[in-house]
């Protein structure tokens, strides 16, 4: 559905995105993840025809986003990052206006339907300027859904929502993603993990990783640290574990747990279990440290920045003030 080749965008001399290549299929929810200024919004603005790329091409359903812009815009539902809305309009009138531009049939019924979908049916007659941030977000999302678009492009769709709404919106996105294509940007990794089939991590305009969320996790050594607990004689057990192949260090924690650090790429858990049971200890717990996505993300984006150092060195205030 979405196909991007060598997409590049320069703002004057600043390169916002740099030769991006990726695709998204029908029935896929693609997560676009990256720190501030990574180029997420820029990419989405090009895909929706709001701005032109400097070079490279992007197609949606085989249609070039620049050459067949109008047809592409028919197929795409877009929630811009800033959630622009007409402040002086009522919610219902606003959605109706946007729906008419998208040639939605039976517009009144459809608007009512979408209002229920985003949980704003009780505020349809409110002036938009009187809505809260989260409500505005929901109206914006409703606008993107109105015309049953084949492709949904959502720039940070859950920002500003309360936990209940976040859950509902995520479920909504997941259900829409079953038959259509959804591309969403977010800073929240657990969100990407929950709703995306595939995640692209982008930093300084370049893709640094692209995979299913589970695989991304595996990429940064899933089993670096294992926690072990035995019923008694913890210190002796710890000493016994030191001899195991693949183990780097063993430490007894105050909680009575043993922390076993092992080399990457080797799973020492079977070895630990065998050793302890054979030596007559009662094994109570054997848990791999859960690596959270935040760590992966930080690691991947940090790696990428050290590979491509920024042109200007980033100011380091603390050091300067100490000097």
């Amino acid at each position: 559905m979405i196909s991007v080749q060598n997409l590049t965008k320069d703002y004057d001399t600043h390169r916002a995105i740099d030769h991006l290549n990726f695709t998204a299929e029908k029935g896929e929810v693609l997560g676009f993840l990256g720190p501030n200024g990574a180029g997420k919004t820029t990419t989405m603005r090009i895909l929706t025809g709001f701005m032109s790329p400097t070079s490279g091409t992007a197609t949606i359903d085989g249609l070039d986003v620049m050459e067949d812009s109008l047809k592409v815009r028919h197929k795409v539902g877009y929630l811009p990052e800033t959630v622009p809305l007409y402040e002086d309009m009522r919610v219902f009138d606003y959605l109706k206006f946007m729906g008419q531009l998208h040639k939605v049939q039976e517009i009144d019924e459809r608007v009512a339907e979408v209002l229920i979908q985003v949980g704003m049916d009780d505020r349809s007659q409110s002036l938009i300027k009187n809505l809260s941030k989260g409500m505005r977000q929901r109206v914006g999302l409703g606008q993107a859904l109105l015309h049953h678009p084949d492709v949904l492009i959502l720039d940070e769709p859950t920002i500003g929502l309360d936990p209940k709404q976040i859950k509902e919106v995520r479920n909504l996105i997941k259900s829409i993603g079953k038959e259509r294509t959804v591309m969403l940007s977010t800073h929240i990794l657990s969100e990407a993990q929950q709703i995306c089939d595939r995640v692209i991590i982008i930093n300084k305009g370049r893709i640094v990783a692209e995979d299913a969320p589970e695989n991304l996790q595996g990429r940064v050594s899933a089993l670096r640290v294992v926690y072990v607990r035995v019923s008694e004689k913890t210190d002796q057990a710890a000493t016994a574990l030191r001899e195991l192949p693949g183990v780097l260090s063993v430490k007894v924690l105050e909680t009575g747990r043993i922390e076993v650090e092992n080399v990457r790429e080797s799973d020492v858990r079977p070895g630990i279990a065998r050793k302890l049971v054979e030596s007559g200890y009662d094994l109570l717990e054997l848990t791999p440290e859960s690596v959270n996505l935040e760590d992966i993300f930080l690691k991947l984006t940090r790696e990428a920045s050290s590979e491509n150092p920024p042109l200007e060195p980033e100011p380091n205030d603390s050091q300067e003030s100490e000097a």
Binding site: R45, K71, R73, H74, P84, L85, L101, K103
Partner: protein, 245 residues
């Protein structure tokens, strides 16, 4: 076509609910009402038949010259500033439909205002005998309408160049003033080609020399129509160029 109408309707309704448009409306009716009351008095007391053309002169300057920049200043500058232009530029709407829609909505609002002022000559017509010179009055109104059409288009184009509403207002006022005064230099070199050019460029000369006297000259009609089309074309280019930032 449908998009133009959708956008025009929204623009019209938006003006209807905006306080500034009310102020413009009230000022137009108030000022014209004052002159109307003088006419009414003269008509009743002295059986004097007023020439409504003078009233329309008041309508054109200063009223229209102030009112149109005020009504058009926000059309695009506000969308530029608040980011709603992103919605319109990513909706399946052609750039020219957007510009024409904005123009049509604003123009129709202004047309409603102008048509409501027709109430005054109609009343005068009932009171005195012989009544108002109707064909002349009609030509006057047609001229004012055409002039307003091109001025609205210019205002919309200028609004598309700005993010700041006040800047758009000032630029529109300045531009219209130039179009009004451009015929002035002609008096320094009368009879020359240059004088002709300057006179023919002027927004007001095409009214004063024909419509105002009750004549409808195709040349003057096409001047206003061309100016409208040209400004709408420039507005479309300006919107197009926003995609190439």
């Amino acid at each position: 076509m449908r998009n133009i109408w959708t956008i025009a309707k929204k623009e019209y309704a938006g003006l209807f609910y905006s306080p500034i448009a009310y102020v413009v409306g009230v000022v137009v009716f108030l000022v014209m009402g004052i002159f109307f009351s003088y006419d009414l008095n003269a008509a009743i007391t002295y059986q004097y038949t007023p020439d409504f053309t003078y009233e329309l002169d008041i309508l054109i300057f200063p009223l229209i010259f102030l009112a149109i920049p005020i009504l058009t200043m926000k059309t695009f500058s506000e969308e530029n500033k608040s980011g709603t232009l992103e919605l319109l530029l990513t909706a399946p709407v052609k750039d020219h439909e957007l510009v024409i829609g904005k123009w049509l909505g604003t123009f129709l609002f202004f047309l409603s205002l102008i048509l409501l002022t027709w109430f005054y000559p109609l009343v005068l017509n009932f009171i005195i005998d012989p009544g108002i010179d109707q064909p002349k009055n009609l030509a006057n109104y047609l001229g004012v309408t055409l002039m307003a059409s091109s001025m609205t288009a210019i205002g919309i184009y200028i609004s598309s160049l700005f993010k700041n509403t006040i800047a758009a207002l000032m630029a529109s006022l300045g531009t219209l003033l130039v179009f009004w005064l451009i015929s002035a230099p002609a008096q320094f070199f009368p009879g020359t080609v240059a004088a002709d050019v300057f006179t023919n460029l002027s927004l007001t000369q095409h009214y004063y020399n024909s419509f105002r006297a009750g004549m409808i000259d195709l040349l003057d009609v096409s001047y206003y129509v061309s100016l409208t089309v040209l400004a709408l074309f420039l507005g479309t280019r300006s919107i197009e160029s926003k995609r190439w930032r």
